[in-house]
């Protein structure tokens, strides 16, 4: 990866159509590597989740032609909430296969075009419309059922969920791209409106308008364009059944740092864990040579559409054992060491999770989200946070290796990519 750009995520961007918002992120990425000429781009991949939000089929080619990338190769990538992560990996595939030397991967969503509850209805159409949607289709409800089972199985608490919200909102304070920058307490999170028990308004991400672009290149070209390229050393993609009710209750897929005896009585994945996340993580770890992720990764940008899914994802990514996700946040591991969160933590953070503020605070314009994570991780590894955020508050001292994680509908598609300092 040689460059990236993000439009500031906002609740609504009536001033621009989706093409122009994509162009903003694309121009930012192009301007960041002046040696990259438009003519050097061999092709592109584009992602957006829902045709319903734009009421426009083939919006992908319209973004592509606006960027002046015709008649070069392009295709649309879609996979629910993981759309952006899948697009990032499709861009990587285009370069890794040798088909392209330089590939632009961009994505967007304009969710403000319908009222919030209509938007929730559209998103719920990404559940089985014969058996699930008509029962009361609502994604927050689906995730709430998952976390209730997680709490039952492992003793996870609502306060532990709230800590994730406090952390990510506070991190976003230093990120000018974020939509919600707020200093919160655990009580604020618990006292906000109940949406789907036990998840409150502040446990859940918001809808956004936004776009993001990543420019990917082969190693030789990358070093011609920049002295500080970031290498993609591992990719993994997992899947699971759309209907949560159909998921198996079998045995845990073990990470290299786990034993069968760790999980004697646990039925897996059931509805408490994301098997796709575990599958994606293990593929990416194997490819990148990671055997002890807690020690070998410097930071993580993961898909925290819900505070509960952040906790579940710690476990899927084997940052801790299944069942220990709540304790993992309580102990302080995923916090930034340099930030005051207004609460007492037992230790300084060692593996910051969502230093950017995550989806909860940055916003979640679906087709852009996974690419946004890649851009924030790219800047973190380059050490260029100060240049791009206008302040260095969120720059980690050691950020040589990061993990990005994108996730769709109750864990149906999950992507994990490992990014490392390439110079």
């Amino acid at each position: 990866m040689v460059s990236g750009g993000v439009s500031k995520f906002a609740k609504a961007r009536p001033d621009a159509t989706f093409q122009k918002i994509v162009k903003e992120s694309f121009d930012y990425a192009m301007n960041d590597v002046p040696k990259l000429k438009h003519s050097m781009i061999d092709g592109s991949v584009v992602s957006y989740f829902s045709d319903h939000f734009t009421r426009q089929l083939m919006a992908g080619i319209m973004a592509t032609d606006y960027l002046g990338l015709c008649p070069k190769p392009n295709k649309r990538i879609e996979g629910g909430g993981a759309t952006g992560g899948l697009c990032f990996q499709a861009g990587w595939e285009a370069v890794a296969s040798g088909r392209m030397n330089v590939c632009a991967a961009f994505g967007f969503e304009t969710m403000s075009h319908v009222p919030t509850w209509k938007g929730n209805e559209f998103i719920a159409l990404a559940s089985d419309v014969n058996f699930d949607y008509p029962v009361g289709g609502f994604y927050s409800g689906y995730y709430a059922m998952m976390v209730n089972r997680h709490m039952h199985e492992f003793g996870t608490t609502v306060e532990q969920l709230a800590m994730v919200s406090v952390k990510n909102h506070m991190n976003a304070y230093g990120n000018p791209y974020a939509q919600k920058r707020r200093k919160l307490t655990i009580a604020d999170v618990r006292n906000s409106a109940m949406v789907a028990y036990p998840l409150t308004l502040l446990d859940i991400c918001v809808m956004s308008d936004g776009a993001a672009t990543c420019i990917l290149a082969d190693e030789e070209t990358a070093f011609k364009l920049t002295d500080h390229p970031v290498k993609i050393t591992g990719v993994g993609t997992g899947t699971d059944m759309m209907r949560m009710a159909d998921r198996p209750h079998g045995e845990v897929i073990l990470a290299p740092n786990e034993k069968k005896s760790d999980y004697r009585n646990l039925k897996y994945p059931g509805v408490h864990s994301f098997r796709a996340g575990r599958s994606a993580g293990l593929q990416a770890y194997k490819m990148a040579g990671i055997t002890d992720p807690l020690k070998q990764i410097d930071f993580v940008e993961l898909h925290d559409a819900y505070t509960s899914s952040e906790i579940q994802t710690y476990e899927d990514l084997a940052l801790c054992k299944y069942g220990d996700g709540g304790k993992f946040v309580e102990a302080g591991y995923p916090f930034m060491p340099q930030i005051d969160y207004g609460m007492k933590l037992p230790m300084k953070g060692t593996l910051p999770v969502n230093p950017s503020g995550g989806l909860i605070a940055c916003g979640h314009p679906v087709g852009a989200t996974g690419l946004m994570q890649a851009v924030f991780a790219f800047w973190q590894i380059q050490g260029s946070i100060k240049k791009h955020y206008g302040n260095g508050e969120l720059q980690l001292k050691k950020a040589d290796r990061g993990l990005i994680h994108s996730h769709a509908g109750t864990g149906t598609y999950v992507t994990v990519s490992i990014m490392e300092r390439g110079w």
Binding site: W117, I123, A124, D132, V135, G136
Partner: protein, 182 residues
């Protein structure tokens, strides 16, 4: 359009609700100087969209016929013995075609939630409870509504529940719902 229940509206929204109704406009003024156009406010219009689909339940149709006759029909693999509470005609374990079987009408709450908000279509029904029901001898779960408990504090995982059916079926999965059985 979305009607927020004022009793449950988020505390932070101290503002008038935006409406999807408005004035019809047939013309708007344009300045003579084209150089000023980039400073113009965006034009936002309402675009209605409505479709009636001709939707078939296909091979899953017997399930809905079962509901209208007071029966819960699932499927079972003859080879793996794997039983599906929500029917699927192909076994996910071995790929063989499954057969239709009747599944029990009593089960337990595997997990639950209470929705205070929802997609627009269901907003008027809030608050409602969603449950995933587990049955003895059945390998997968079943998503349904739980009717009866006042709030989430009256529901617990493991609680016994039994199926009830609408008398006038709508050929929707909501033709069956569950009620506490203890």
């Amino acid at each position: 359009m979305a009607k927020k229940n004022p009793a449950k509206a988020p505390a932070e929204s101290k503002k008038v609700e935006e409406l999807m109704t408005g004035t019809t406009v047939f013309n708007i003024p344009l300045p003579a100087d084209l150089k000023t156009l980039k400073g113009m406010s965006p034009i936002v219009i309402k675009q209605p969209y409505h479709i009636d689909y001709i939707h078939s339940y296909g091979q899953d149709s017997p399930f809905f016929a079962g509901l209208s006759n007071g029966k819960l029909l699932g499927t079972k693999c003859g080879k793996c013995d794997y039983t599906y509470a929500t029917p699927r005609l192909a076994c996910t374990q071995c790929g063989r075609e499954t057969k239709w079987v009747e599944i029990p009408q009593t089960g337990r709450v595997h997990t639950f939630t209470t929705c205070y908000f929802g997609g627009e279509e269901f907003l008027k029904e809030t608050p409602f409870h969603l449950v995933l029901v587990e049955f003895d001898g059945v390998d997968t779960l079943f998503l349904s509504r739980l009717i009866g408990p006042a709030g989430p504090e009256d529901i617990r995982i493991g609680m016994k529940v039994k199926a009830k059916f609408r008398r006038n079926s709508q050929l929707k999965p909501t033709d069956v719902y569950f009620v506490p059985a203890e």
